[in-house]
Amino acid sequence: MKRLAAHPLVWPCVTLVLLVLLDLSHNPAFLSISVLDGHLFGAPIDILNRAAPLVLVSLGMTLVIATRGIDISVGAVVAIAGAAAASILAADPSQVGMAIAAALAAGLLAGMWNGLLVAIVGMQPIIATLILMVAGRGVAQLLTGGQIIPIGARDYLFLGGGYLALIPCSMWIAAAAIAVTTLLMNRTALGLFIRAIGINPVATRLAGLRSSAIVFGVYTFSGLTAAIAGILASSNVRSADGNNAGLLLELDAILAVTLGGTSLLGGRFSLAGTVLGALIIQTLTYTTYSIGVPPEATLVVKAAVVLMVSVIQSASARAFIARQVRRAFPVAAKRTLTEGAQ
């Protein structure tokens, strides 16, 4: 039991379960999934479906954060990717392959640019990516001409809105991305290298690692995942919006990473934790909508949940609370003492 409590993923799981319970108490049919028009339908599917872009972006963000960096340009990259795809599709709706390639290329390029500034030039990551965060949105708007470009290409819409074997396509894509990333991190030495760089870059370099190449790669990867997220997002809403697509997504992604137990100081990271974190955020958003929290109060609710999650995740906070409880109920204190003596 104690072992279980010490596992870092337990607390995010507990949070998620609590949120779902809250939803259930409000709407007993919350977890029910039915089949509609040949696909699964229901609140959990919505949440997973909607969380897909966030999960994708957070995967890249996790690796970036693990190297002690940060990438605040992901929201802009999401917009650029969507805009790039849409502007190609607007010219010729049959060029779906081209559109996807263009979106991915845009994301790769953006990621490489960040990687260049951080790993090669040596700028501080937050500033390096701030540049793209500001300019990137401009680029996205330049591509869309400040308009919302509707997307009609069926095959493209399938990616973010279609279903494959009952399950939303975007969930497949997110699952594939998770699988690939996990494989890369666990089945190759990349995970080790990334953690080493995050913990002690100087020592890592002296151990013969080419840290700059790895850091560069990590930012590129982040750009790529953001681009995939951009494709999903634009496909899901059947349009590309240079200004609003992915707005503030970077904050949510960083939040997902930290809720999952990865430290912003770099080093150890947990991809599973990140996915859980993203699900928590999405479930929370959904919950505030479905239990009828007034819009003025959503932020307060979000703040409370975020604080609660992080407090119960913190070992010192739990110890503190336990101490307070013991002080308040001296009987309990005695019991723990005798337990300790045995």
Binding site: L130, A135, G138, S263, S310
Partner: protein, 360 residues
């Protein structure tokens, strides 16, 4: 000259030089740019940002980050407006009250961060949501302030001949001076640097880490509230959507001013120029007046990029010459500390006769 390229002051010297270059560029390019009024305007329009960024500088130097500043600014404007318009409290009660509130709010976040070992990012992000949410819970409307004292404070101008400074700008100057003093001439300030350098060492050196860390966030909360008051005077109203994204501006200004996000290194004065640079970029763009919305963003990004690139390259080049080249081939974060030059040599060994001297 030697002093100028001391590795510790180098970033700030470079920043100032580039700032001057930026101003010169504007003056050459646009008529009317080179005037006292424009420069004073730079300070007036960015007074609140400067105050907030100064608080942020302390937080970042201590190795943390504070995302709540923008929404605390908004909350302060709302509180000021609410107290004066709905409750008709006098200004001299409202101001200390909101400032104390800001400091407490920051201190509470600091306490969570330190005692529960939570990540500053998360705690202050929650603080940001909470303060913004509190604004909306109070009111979603904007409230105009008609209180005469507020109006008088807002209308006050100190004439400088050809230009004038507002109350806000004067407050910002005062805060800057106070912050420089705190950072360099008080134990609190020095402890902030020590903690940012190495928190564990600071604990082992017997420094009051808990007090300092909570204090840093309290200071930032206070600065945000003060920035909020200045903002209230700037617009004479309270509104919950104010100051969105200000945290990012403040962080950017701080970092551009040479403060390292990893903590322990930075100067308050640098932040002044960081704010100045962001402000100047914006002023340049309004003077230009031909850019579309998206080109505005792209140009801001490009200027920022050009600036930071130059900053990096000059620093690196000078740093290489000066610091014995230890930085070559080493990337950011992988920096080995620059070593002292030969000149500061060792007075060696117990026996005086063994002192090394150049033979030949």
């Amino acid at each position: 000259m030697n002093k100028l390229i001391d590795p510790r002051t180098l970033p700030i010297v470079v920043t100032i030089a580039l700032f001057a270059a930026l101003l010169a560029f504007g003056s050459v390019m646009y008529t009317g740019f080179f005037s006292l009024q424009v420069f004073a305007g730079l300070l007036i329009d960015n007074a609140f940002l400067l105050i907030v960024a100064i608080g942020m500088t302390f937080v970042i130097v201590s190795g943390g980050i504070d995302l709540s500043v923008g929404s605390v600014v908004a909350l302060t404007t709302i509180l000021c407006a609410l107290f004066t318009e709905r409750f008709h409290w006098p200004v001299w009660i409202i101001l200390p009250l909101v400032l104390a509130f800001g400091a407490l709010y920051g201190a509470a976040m600091g306490a969570l961060i330190h005692f529960f070992r939570l990540q500053p990012f998360i705690v202050t992000l929650a603080g940001m949501f909470l303060a913004r949410g509190a604004c909306f819970l109070i009111t979603t409307q904007s409230i105009t302030i008609s209180n005469p004292t507020f109006r008088a404070l807002s209308a006050f101008h100190l004439d400088l001949g050809g230009a004038s400074l507002t109350t806000g700008a004067l407050v910002a100057i005062a805060v800057l001076a106070a912050a420089v003093f705190v950072a360099h001439y008080t134990r609190f300030g020095r402890n902030v640097y020590a903690i940012g350098g190495n928190e564990r060492s600071a604990v082992l050196m017997g420094l009051p880490v808990a007090r300092t860390k909570v204090g840093v966030y309290a200071l930032s909360g206070f600065c945000s509230a003060l920035g909020g008051v200045v903002f209230t005077l700037y617009v004479l109203s309270g509104y919950g959507l104010q100051g969105q994204g200000m945290e990012l501006d403040a962080i950017a200004a701080t970092v551009i001013g040479g403060t390292l996000l990893t903590g322990g290194v930075g100067y308050v004065v640098g932040t002044l120029f960081g704010v100045g640079i962001l402000g100047t970029i914006q002023t340049l763009i309004t003077f230009d007046g031909t850019l579309s919305s998206w080109w505005t963003r792209i140009v801001i990004g490009a200027l920022l990029c050009a600036f930071c690139l130059l900053q990096r390259l000059i620093e690196r080049h000078a740093g290489r010459r000066r610091s014995n080249g230890t930085m070559t081939g080493e990337r950011a974060g992988a920096k080995r500390p620059r070593r002292a030059p030969l000149s500061t040599d060792v007075e060696n060994n117990a026996a005086e006769s063994l002192t090394p001297k150049e033979s030949t």
